[in-house]
Amino acid sequence: MAAVETANDKALRYAFGNVLCFFILLLIGVLAFSIRLFSVIKYESVIHEFDPYFNYRVTQFLIKNGIYDFWNWFDDRTWYPLGRVIGGTVYPGLTLTAGTIWRILNSLNIPLSVETVCVFTAPIFSAFAAWATYFLTKEVKGTGAGLTAAALLAMVPSYISRSVAGSYDNEAVAIFALIFTFYLYIKTLNTGSLFYATLNAIAYFYMVCSWGGYTFIINLIPMHALLCIVTGRYSPRLYIAYCPLIVLGTLLAALVPVVGFNAVLTSEHFASFLVFIIIHVVALAYYIKGLLSPKMFKFAVTLVVSVGLVLCFAVIAVLVALVASSPTKGWSGRSLSLLDPTYASKYIPIIASVSEHQPPTWPSYFMDINVLAFLVPAGIVACFLPLSDASSFVILYIVTSVYFSGVMVRLMLVLAPAACIMSGIALSEAFGVFTRSIKFQLPGVSQSQQIDAKDNGSEPSGDVIRNDIVKTDRHDEPVKERPLRRNKKKDKENMEKASKPSIKSKIENKLLVLPLETSIIALFLLVLLGAFYVVHCVWAAAEAYSAPSIVLTSHSHDGLHVFDDFREAYAWLSHNTDVDDKVASWWDYGYQTTAMANRTVIVDNNTWNNTHIATVGTAMSSPEKAAWEIFNSLDVKYVLVVFGGLVGYSSDDINKFLWMVRIGGGVFPHIKEPDYLRDGQYRIDSQATPTMLNCLMYKLSYYRFADTDGGKAYDRVRRTEIGKKNIKLTHFEEVFTTHHWMVRLYKLKPPRNRIRSKTKKSKSKSSSTSNQKRRGTGKKNPWH
């Protein structure tokens, strides 16, 4: 009777545990979604920043014209006059995902706008990513660690920074795809099921569709396979996990137009093929080892090794030849800058000019992964006890991602899931140890435990331990009263999970008991640490990462000020200029101009053509006449500059100007950086060089600026009075300036009638404008 009852009890408790786990996961999903809504609540439901606007525009096109037109889309509204083949140069994963969601919703007659779907894609996928983390960590270290890791990932600031509502970028779905691919790989590795291997290839395909970061997967998984082989962990399961992924995955990856033959031609993919060969050799070796007697096997090994060495050399020779002959000459610029952090700043100013391609600083680690940085080492230690295929993979993942995040701030995003998994494991193990110590030392508990052990043997006693843990939970409650509610919930679940490993290795664990007081204090400190993490994450989500950056706000003593100048300018452009007018601006504003103003731009954030960007940079750094000629040869009708001097908006064009000079000078050598610097210093006040004071960017930014504050012309960003106040424009005219002067639009004046201009010139030869003209024509125009 008693046995039946306990069996029933057990089933019930398992069911209860599963339901609890399900609800915890559901809550984690809700948490991941809702913590990203600060941007919508504090600002508005709008697409953020720069790249998301492009993705939004592509999605609109996809929904309007369908998938086939999307693949063939040649966009003539950007990179004028070159255009851009969008269908072949864009990672379509995000767009297709949002498009599909929109289509499903609309077929259910839920008329959400495309914009709404795009805004909320990222939060939805971060909930998915949290769930994927749960599954991955569960495969590595069990449910407890899984739930902790999922809860940590749901609110890790690094990931929030790329996936707040409105941040409609590739990374939003790619991180989910990345974690899910890893989960399926581990799952296949643990089960050896071909079903999961196939799913894994499909998940990898989705990742390839979504983000260029797929090369991380296609290098990490071979590294892990190699590691397994080298450490003698080869098994048929590894073969099943690895080979179908490479074959199917590469075939599928080649279907994505932007990847195409790169999937077999570029060096980023070669590691996987090399390991593919190695794993077959090893598999063959194991097979033969099974067939032959040990003696014959030894002989065979010597034979094969000698032949194999020859073959190896041949293969390496072929590989080297392929690398040398492949279209990109091996590694692409961005990948090279990963391996050599100084590569980009040395050779490619356009990559170096983007702040997210800079190496991170220490504070940014603390900002982005916070306490996880301290928990990661503990997690690594926990992964070694005991080391399995899965935990070795996670260790490899964290080590490589730490390296990559040290190269580029942007790749902090890849580190975040690894850090969460490791911290989840660490926290859950630590909780396990401490709660067990407390439990064994509480007098009433140990007695009942002994009695139970006598009665039912080892198995039911596990259940008793569970009971006890529930009790200790109650004991701990006064201690845990303090932290946030969310945190408490999380910790509770930690406790719950911590019990599981304790069941298995109860006997040994008895010996590893810590003193009661130490355990309680340590638990308290861990909870405090968790609470600190939660507070930090909420702060980061609410304050640091939610600003959409197209609308700015500032708090002052007389309330909230809204600076909506960008949209003001784009709205003006879209309604009051001709549809086919070309707008020139620095490339940062290209995506926004095409998406919000629907006007043709010369360069945009895609930055695929350095020469074209250099042309715009040259025009901006040239004197007015030369600039007018460059712009006129590009059919430009309007020039857009961003100017923050009036309200103190610091990322304006004057602050970016040195990059324009550098990039322009990189292609057109008559633009020299030292001409714009006074004694190596960049300044705009009266000490600035004449080249600087006469360049187009300076003139367009400060035109009539002196009239705003009665002739003082104090620039609030540079905190100085400007050097040249009386600026006259001869070839451009101001057509629009926004309310806070943040965006200024100028129109190119039509070329003057030749005869009249000649007579004018002769009339006023000594005027400053004619001086400029002469100087301007003296310089080389790159388009003539």
Binding site: L108, P111, Y570, H575, N576, R704, E734, F736, T738
Partner: protein, 471 residues
């Protein structure tokens, strides 16, 4: 106030039907026996909508009684007439009371120079020797022609107004005078037709006596008018009825400045530094008068929320002050959307025969705007039947079907279209329809069923063993 207007509208409709029936047999030729004893015209050109108040004292000098009066307009003017109302005046100065009269555009076969006519149908036939006073109000849109056509930021906006010093009429006019009110006393020039006179903001033509039918004497007035020329080129108003208690209005505007085109430079320094002298004809505020108890107001455009708007509301009315993203100069355009919710009980009623009707105002809520092309879409709840719209002026009507949240059969949409709409059209219209309350529960029931089935299938799935081999 609103109810009064509604009654007004219903009276008008009743009159229409009565008068049309009684007048089918009237002989048209008798109308030339009428003569106008005294005519007074006041033309208001202070805003960009020209309003003309015409008071006519008509006398029947013929032998038979007359029941209709013809109003004549030049073809240029007729094309710009947005609205024409006539009223029958009884009583003396202070105790005047107005009875609306039915008016219809009419074509006469032998009209000189393409003159267009409107027929005013009198309440009672005018018998020989009797006289009657009629007041006519008509509004003209796009009748102020900017000259110069393009102005720079610092220039004021000057416009032409073309009309005739003499009232164009089908009848002999004994005595007439015309007064024109300009927005300021800055009048560049005006055509003199003696006796003509200008005092401050008022121009006076007349009195002229004994003018034969179809006398015409063109005049041009060139004056400064810096009032906002807010023209809504296209307005789509969507009124969505939810029987759960909300009336959702969404209005899509395509706004333009219809005045003199802006040319050359737009200088922000000038605009902000000297608000009086620079960009006098531009405007940056618009005032929308919304019904009271309005809630969830939003104001946005294709690229997101526009943060510059203020809502002031009290018990009687709500005023929404909106600023487009940028000030509008001549020829500049802007698009935006305004949306708001209203409590249903203020606008939806049940009529005596059990039908429901929506009573809502027709025109554009923004003050002093001309709408070139107005579409009103009334989205009835799913399951509504037999919709019919009742509007007191001619509109184009048709039906559509739209699908919204979880609709299966779709919602009936009554579409009303009208061109050239002025604030005078802001009078209520009614949409009648049949609706069974059961349909309110359709969607909740559908959702419940779907979830029930979902749980049922998952239950079934969990209890089924579909593996081939028992393990």
């Amino acid at each position: 106030m609103e109810v009064g207007v509604a009654k007004h509208g219903i009276y008008l409709i009743l009159l229409i039907s009565l008068v049309t029936l009684s007048n089918l047999s009237t002989v048209r030729s008798s109308s030339s026996d009428l003569q106008i004893v005294d005519a007074e015209r006041r033309i208001d050109v202070t805003s960009h909508i020209v309003r003309v108040y015409l008071t006519l004292k008509v006398e029947n000098t013929g032998k038979s009684s007359a029941s209709e009066v013809l109003l004549a307009f030049s073809p240029e003017q007729a094309k710009n007439i947005a609205n024409l109302q006539a009223a029958f005046v009884t009583g003396k100065k202070k105790k005047k009371s107005y009875l609306p009269l039915k008016v219809n555009p009419t074509d006469l076969p032998d009209s000189p120079n393409g003159t267009k006519y409107f027929t005013v149908y009198l309440l009672n036939p005018l018998s020989t020797g009797e006289s009657v006073t009629i007041e006519v109000l008509y509004t003209l849109t796009h009748s102020l022609q900017p000259f110069p056509v393009e102005i720079s930021q610092s220039e004021p906006q000057l416009v032409y107004y073309h009309d005739s010093a003499l009232i164009l009429s089908h009848y002999y006019i004994k005595k007439q005078k015309t007064m024109i009110r300009t927005p300021s006393n800055k009048v560049e020039s005006f055509t003199r037709v003696e006796p003509a006179d200008r005092k401050g903001t008022e121009l006076k033509y007349g009195p002229y006596e004994d003018r034969s039918p179809y006398s015409y004497s063109p005049v041009i007035i060139h004056f400064e008018n810096n009032n906002p020329f807010a023209v809504v080129e296209e307005l789509v108003r969507e009124v969505e009825i939810s029987h759960w208690g909300n009336l959702q209005i969404t209005e899509h505007y395509k706004l333009a400045h219809g005045g003199a085109r802006h040319k050359g430079v737009f200088s922000r320094v000038e605009y902000q530094g000297r608000p009086s002298g620079s960009g006098a004809s531009s405007f940056k505020h618009l005032l929308a008068k919304l019904p009271p108890r309005v809630h969830s107001v939003y104001y946005r455009d294709g690229i997101g929320n526009i943060s510059s708007s203020h809502l002031r509301s009290d018990l009687r009315k709500s005023e929404l002050e909106i600023e487009p993203r940028y000030p509008l100069f001549g020829g500049w355009k802007a698009t935006f959307t305004i949306g708001y919710g209203l409590p249903l009980q203020d606008f939806l009623f049940e009529s005596d025969d059990g039908r429901r009707y929506l009573n809502f105002s027709f025109g554009c809520p923004i003050a002093e705007t001309v709408v070139d092309d107005l579409t009103v879409k009334v989205v009835l709840p799913e399951g509504s039947k037999n919709p019919s719209a009742l509007v007191s002026f001619p509109v184009e009507q048709n039906l559509e079907t739209s699908y919204s949240y979880l609709d299966v059969v779709g919602r009936t949409v009554v579409v009303l279209k009208k061109k050239n709409v002025v604030p005078e059209h802001n009078i209520p219209f009614q949409v009648y329809y049949n609706f069974h309350p059961m349909f309110m529960l359709a969607e909740p029931l559908m959702l419940t069923t779907v979830f029930f089935l979902l749980f049922l299938t998952s239950l079934a799935y969990l209890h089924m063993d579909i593996s081939i081999r028992k393990s």
